[in-house]
């Protein structure tokens, strides 16, 4: 089963909609609360990153028998210093984003922490694709 969502960058305060919707879908599918929690936290962080850094993007979710894969793709600026971005507390977020409580430098670290597998493909000026996997077994 696949599910697709578009992240609209024009309403930053609405970020989290896709994660909340997909969380509802997973609940209906009977996925364990533990997996749902981990996935929705990671996906929410990805969504926030798309809104505050990348002018939105697309999310493609695949639910298989043994795992769920969430692919988050944007055409944003890319991440020039990925090793730094993976460290908790490092952030390039705008003052505006920080005032809303984002930009704590916890986005990618949280995604890494809560997913079972994370692949980050990023190219400066082209965009970033996050592929995160969550085991169901």
């Amino acid at each position: 089963m696949t599910f697709d969502y578009i992240v609209d960058p024009t309403e930053p305060e609405r970020a989290g909609r896709a994660s909340t919707k997909f969380k509802g879908v997973l609940k209906e599918l009977g996925v364990s609360p533990k997996v749902i929690r981990a996935l929705s936290i990671a996906m929410y962080e990805g969504e926030i990153n798309m809104v505050i850094h990348a002018n939105g993007g697309n999310i493609h979710c695949e639910v298989d028998a043994d795992k769920i894969r969430v692919i988050m793709k944007d055409s944003g600026p890319g991440i020039p210093e990925l090793d730094k971005a993976m460290k908790p507390g490092w952030s390039t977020a705008s003052t505006q984003a920080r005032e809303l409580g984002f930009g704590a430098g916890m986005g990618l670290p949280n995604i890494k922490k809560w997913s079972d597998n994370l692949v980050v493909e990023t190219e400066v000026g082209v965009g970033t694709t996050l592929t995160m996997e969550f085991n169901l077994t």
């Binding site: 305060e13 609405r14 970020a15 989290g16 909609r17 994660s19 909340t20 969380k23 929690r37 929705s40 936290i41 929410y44 962080e45 926030i48 809303l100 409580g101 984002f102 930009g103 704590a104 430098g105 916890m106 986005g107 670290p109 949280n110 922490k113």
Partner: protein, 109 residues
């Protein structure tokens, strides 16, 4: 202890009545949403000074039982609407976050 029990604290006022039967077993204080997302425990009463709509997403996704907005800040209109949709309780207090946390501790949390 449930969300409903917290209403006994007279300094806390109800802004949105969500699921009042959710258990409250711990607390968390924080205004950086990703930190709250990463570290708040489930069944928390979460004290924050953020009042915009994203606090509802954080609470929903993290499994926070109730949001307490401190310092006399009021939730934005769409925060109230979204909290109603998501069945999340929002309390407000004139107390600062530390004093609000003290109330929870004195109350037995």
């Amino acid at each position: 202890m449930t969300v409903r029990d917290l209403l006994a604290i007279k300094e806390f006022k109800v802004a949105v009545e969500g699921d009042m039967d959710l258990p409250v077993s711990c607390g968390y204080m924080g205004d950086l949403l990703s930190v709250v997302m990463g570290y708040a425990e489930e069944e928390s009463a979460w004290i924050t000074i953020q009042s915009h709509v994203n606090i509802v997403a954080v609470a929903t996704l993290r499994g926070v039982s109730a949001i307490i907005i401190a310092h006399g800040f009021e939730p934005d209109e769409d925060t109230v609407e979204t909290a109603k949709e998501e069945n999340i309780t929002i309390l407000t207090t004139e107390l600062n976050p530390f004093e609000a946390a003290k109330k929870l501790v004195e109350f037995g949390l």
